[in-house]
């Protein structure tokens, strides 16, 4: 048997060798078409391989002309009624439970994003320190802390959608709109973001469209499923014209999440559940 030190050195060497081998394997893999598509998509999104992707937004606030802590921000009169309604759901000594619904309401009122001033206003309403609201707002990725478009397009990036081509959908959207991810188009209409599974795997790939163009009264949050790059561009153009594309599956032959061209199985009446023969007892 080798002395321990020599064995340690040998194992280190072995480890180094296998690491470089796997790297080489990775490079070989990259030449195959599927992996190449994945890699190029990653490159086109501007992600550099040496950085790890974290949350999409910064965890700290940077002052900008439209987002400053000393700005005044208030809920509108109609929304103030909603605020009171929301707060009535919680005991008066646990007002902070209302932070999440209030942030959502503020986001709808403010065109899809929550400025610091709105968070401060919420902190005052629920009687906590502002930092407690910041903590919540930074934790949840659906609270946008920077400006988004009137139509915020959220592409599902989770495995089933990715396998069904969500990266293509996203690339098409970004190319069509001429923006990068989380950027707003120059007319302020659209922005594209990524979201994790929204539960539509059966109709993958899908996007969700948060419509902030009509304030909190006309706010909608619709899913568009079974997308193709062509169809997603059509949807964007319809939205641009102010039309409302039919929500749900975009497949011409599917109804909701049923199979294309109608049911192929379970066609008859379902059998009743088997019962015991009570007389036999």
């Amino acid at each position: 048997m080798l002395p321990p030190a020599a064995r340690l050195a040998a194992r280190r060497l072995l480890g180094l060798a296998s690491a470089s081998a796997s790297e080489a394997a990775g490079r070989r893999l990259a030449s195959s078409p599927i992996a190449a598509a994945g890699y190029s998509a990653a490159a086109s999104r501007g992600s550099v391989s040496s950085t790890r992707p974290f949350s999409t937004a910064l965890n700290y606030h940077l002052d900008s002309p439209e987002n400053k802590p000393d700005m005044k921000w208030e809920f509108s009169e109609a929304n103030m009624k909603k605020v009171n309604e929301i707060l009535s759901h919680y005991p008066s000594n646990y007002k902070q439970s209302g932070i999440i619904p209030l942030l959502d309401l503020a986001q709808q009122q403010h065109g899809g994003w929550v400025p610091v001033a709105a968070m401060d206003a919420i902190a005052k309403i629920v009687e906590v320190a502002p930092i407690r609201v910041y903590e919540v707002a930074t934790f949840y990725t659906m609270f946008n802390r920077t400006k988004v478009g009137k139509y915020h397009l959220l592409v599902c990036g989770t495995t089933p959608c990715m396998i069904r081509g969500s990266r293509e959908i996203e690339d098409t959207l970004l190319e069509h709109l001429g923006v990068k991810r989380n950027e707003v188009t120059s007319d302020g209409l659209f922005s594209v973001g990524e979201m994790e599974c929204m539960g539509c795997c059966v109709n993958a790939p899908m996007i969700a469209v948060a419509d902030y163009s009509k304030g909190s009264e006309g706010y909608t949050y619709n899913y568009y499923e079974d997308l193709t790059p062509k169809r997603v561009v059509e949807i964007v153009e319809m939205l641009r014209r102010g039309e409302t594309p039919p929500r749900g599956t975009q497949h011409p032959e599917r109804k909701n999440c049923g199979p294309a061209g109608g049911n192929t199985t379970l066609l008859g009446e379902p059998k009743p559940p088997p019962c015991r023969d009570l007389d036999a007892c």
Binding site: F54, Y60, A129, I131, Y134, T138
Partner: protein, 744 residues
């Protein structure tokens, strides 16, 4: 493999025989030989049938079992039975059993977060290792801290913690006193499997005191909990989620707490370190001297870390009765004032108005000569706010021997209430404030006058929802309070039972009244204190079992000065003085001093009073001398010299002793112990070290007061928390703090 297992078993037995001796002196470290490689750990035969001998509780901790045996329970830690009170956590039970569990997020003075997972232990019948800091101990629980499961769990947690932690220990200020460093040596593996890029986090600007290197942060949230729970400034928070999580303020905000420096101590890694101390020294180069702080009247226990002749930093020392384990920023960061503006040599002001350095012999001769030219009643001695009891005793004896009784201490006002000790002490004691349920603060803003007392009040208010009423100018509080009024009228209303706050006081079980020492300076102080006593009598504040009538002093010297009887009236003494001896007194008004008066300034800093001085006698600062101080609750403590004094400076009492000899009125003591003997004849409590001697005589015996309270509202006594005395005024860090952190 058999060879390996044998070797490990040998090393195990060696270690277990050595450990008990180690455990007494330092943090107990589990045998790392077996923990080093998990597969080898599994190969070793499970726990030895013979138990290691039981250990002493960690840090000599004592556990008070409740009187009712039903409120105690028994658990087994590594096979040993320990009895603990109900409600203890598994971690506390292990501590009682003498097993120190590694931890990062758990801190005994903060709420439990349970998010670092370092304290995982194995509990029998539990499917997974449990986080001992957050798990309540249950009767009969069998806790195992040293099994392969527990070791592997810790090793895994440590690997995760080190995943994103930079390997910058060589340039990290925490290096050498870092919990992460120590615990990864004791419990971690010797390598990690993480090969991706480490994350990096933007550093936050928390102000001139706390330096942040947020990439090093392990998200234990101790600082967040400290800021929220103890300091009472809800600025810090945990932002983001998952591996992008970071500590921050979200918006650009400085940490404006007077206790912010403590986050440096509680941070287990090098994420929050001291900005003034950055890259100055390594902790193993420093000599620690356990002494006390003199920048306020609390007398916080501190350790002065010095390297050679230089004070490098000040850190707190545990004292449950005074400062727990926190200190204020002023205490912690005033040390750079000890290096600046120091007086090195005796100096005489020449005819051209400029100072000229001379020898001690010449300086003392000049002073003695002037001393003999003035009439005895024109001699006045003033002790400064940082003076120790020995020097004040010497000053008083010396001035008395010269035939004058005009010797006083600054800050004690025209007619100090020195007759009864209970009239100027915090009779409830600082720790006793925790039993109170109603506070009435009269003309005092404890947050700036005595930050540690304020921390106690805040702790009580947070724990028991105690009510706080405040009479005084609008002030910053970090807890809920009722601002009852700004002047003595409100106090009179309470005394006459006309104020709504009376009902609160009436229903209180242990009410506390705290009067500020700022009231001493008022003309109507006798009337004010008698009104306060009326309130106390009316609402049962002083009872045989509870004394809630307190005075919160401002300066370190005040209590001892009143004990020793330095009680002359300042304005009269100064008006008639032809020879004024200022012993570090900078804040006394010299406007009325006759122009032809001869002023001797004995002190360590070239501060305010030096401008008027004719002769300067350099003395040593609190970090350089042994001196007795009495804090606001009447506890006597000593400073211990940490560094040699600068230049030709001498201890205060020695200068006066030398001067007395030159002046022909030699004082009868030549050593510190002889001075203390003399003190013991005047105020015996000042020689009982580290003891709080409460006042025994009640306030009943006071003569009636005929004075009327005036309607002048109370004034803010401390305008600038960061600059209150000669040392802090000379400090650059304190100047930065007052420039950036004070509310304008």
């Amino acid at each position: 493999m058999a060879f390996l297992a044998r070797a490990l078993r040998q090393s195990n037995s060696r270690l277990s025989s050595r450990c008990p001796a180690v455990a007494a002196s330092c943090r107990w470290i589990s045998p790392t030989a077996a923990a080093g490689s998990p597969e080898a750990g599994a190969a070793v035969a499970p726990a030895d049938p013979e138990l290691p001998p039981p250990r002493e509780p960690v840090g000599g901790a004592r556990v008070e079992l409740p009187p009712n045996p039903e409120d105690a329970l028994e658990v087994f830690v590594d096979g040993h039975a320990v009895r603990i009170p109900k409600g203890f956590t598994v971690l506390q039970a292990c501590e009682v059993a003498g097993v120190d569990i590694p931890r990062f997020c758990y801190h005994s003075r903060l709420s439990i977060a349970g998010n670092c997972r370092m304290c995982l232990v194995e509990v029998e019948k539990s499917p997974k290792p449990v986080a001992s800091c957050a798990m309540p101990a249950l009767p009969g629980m069998k806790i195992k801290t040293n099994t392969p499961v527990a070791k592997k769990a810790r090793e895994g947690v440590m690997e995760f913690l080190l995943m994103n932690h930079p390997l910058d220990c060589p340039i990290c200020d925490q290096g050498g006193e870092c919990d992460l460093q120590d615990q990864s040596m004791a419990f971690g593996a010797d390598r990690g499997r993480f090969t991706e890029m480490k994350r990096s986090v933007v550093d936050k600007n928390l102000g001139p005191l706390v330096k942040t290197v947020m990439t090093r942060c392990i998200q234990c949230t101790r600082c967040v909990r400290f800021a929220t729970e103890v300091a009472g400034v809800q600025d810090l928070g945990m932002l983001g989620r998952g591996s992008g999580e970071e500590i921050g303020t979200y918006v650009e905000k400085l940490m404006t707490s007077e206790l912010s420096g403590n986050v440096i101590d509680i941070c287990p890694v090098g994420a929050l370190t001291s900005k003034p101390f950055a890259f100055k020294a390594r902790n193993w180069e420093l000599k620690g001297t356990e002494t006390i702080d003199v920048t306020d009247a609390v007398g916080s226990n501190i350790r002065v870390d010095s390297r050679g002749p230089e004070v490098m930093r000040i850190v707190p020392r545990l004292n449950e009765d005074i400062n727990e384990e926190w200190i204020s920023d002023k205490t912690r960061f005033c040390y750079d004032g000890l290096k600046r503006q120091r007086l090195n040599d005796p100096m005489i002001r020449g005819p051209d108005g400029r100072f000229k350095a001379v020898t001690w012999r010449d300086a003392l001769a000049v002073v003695a000569e002037v001393l003999h030219q003035v009439k005895p009643e024109e001699i006045t001695g003033v002790a400064g706010k940082l003076s120790d009891a020995e020097s004040m005793m010497a000053l008083k004896d010396f001035v008395n021997r010269m035939g004058s009784d005009k010797v006083l201490c600054e800050g004690n006002g025209p007619n100090p209430p020195a007759d009864l000790r209970s009239n100027y002490l915090m009779n409830t004691s600082i720790a006793g404030l925790e039993k109170a349920d109603v506070f009435l603060l009269v003309g005092t803003q404890p947050r700036v006058e005595a930050a540690m007392v304020n921390a106690r009040i805040r702790k009580t208010v947070k724990a028991t929802q105690a009510k706080v009423g405040y009479i005084g100018p609008p002030a910053d509080f970090n807890y809920d309070h009722d601002h009852l009024g700004t002047g003595p009228q409100t106090l009179v209303e309470i005394a006459e039972g006309r104020h709504p706050f009376c009902s609160v006081l009436q229903s209180a079980k242990n009410p506390v009244i705290i009067a500020g020492a700022g009231l001493f300076e008022r003309e109507d102080q006798d009337a004010l204190f008698s009104t306060i006593e009326t309130v106390a009598k009316k609402f049962n504040v002083t009872r045989p079992d509870w004394n809630g009538l307190n005075v919160l002093l401002l300066h370190a010297a005040q209590a001892a000065a009143l004990d020793l009887g330095l009680v002359a009236n300042p304005s009269e003494s100064i008006k008639s003085a032809k020879f004024l001896y200022l012993m570090g007194a900078d804040d006394i008004s010299l406007d009325k001093l006759p122009d032809d008066a001869f002023v001797v300034y004995q002190g360590h800093h070239g501060d305010k009073a030096v401008y008027r001085a004719n002769v300067i006698l350099p003395s040593s600062a609190f970090s350089e001398k042994e001196g007795t101080y009495e804090n606001t609750e009447g506890c006597t403590q000593w400073t211990i010299p940490a560094v040699p004094t600068v230049g030709d400076a001498r201890d205060d009492w020695k200068i006066i002793r030398a001067l007395s000899e030159v002046a022909g009125a030699q004082l009868p003591y030549d050593s510190l112990s002889a001075v203390r003997d003399r003190i013991s004849t005047v105020a015996p409590n000042l020689v009982h070290l580290d003891e709080r001697e409460p006042s025994t005589i009640s306030a009943e015996v006071k003569p009636p007061v005929k004075q009327q309270v005036s309607s002048t509202p109370f004034k803010t006594v401390v305008e600038n928390f960061y600059m209150t005395d000669a040392i802090t005024r000379a400090s650059k860090i304190m100047a930065q703090c007052s420039a950036t952190l004070l509310k304008k």
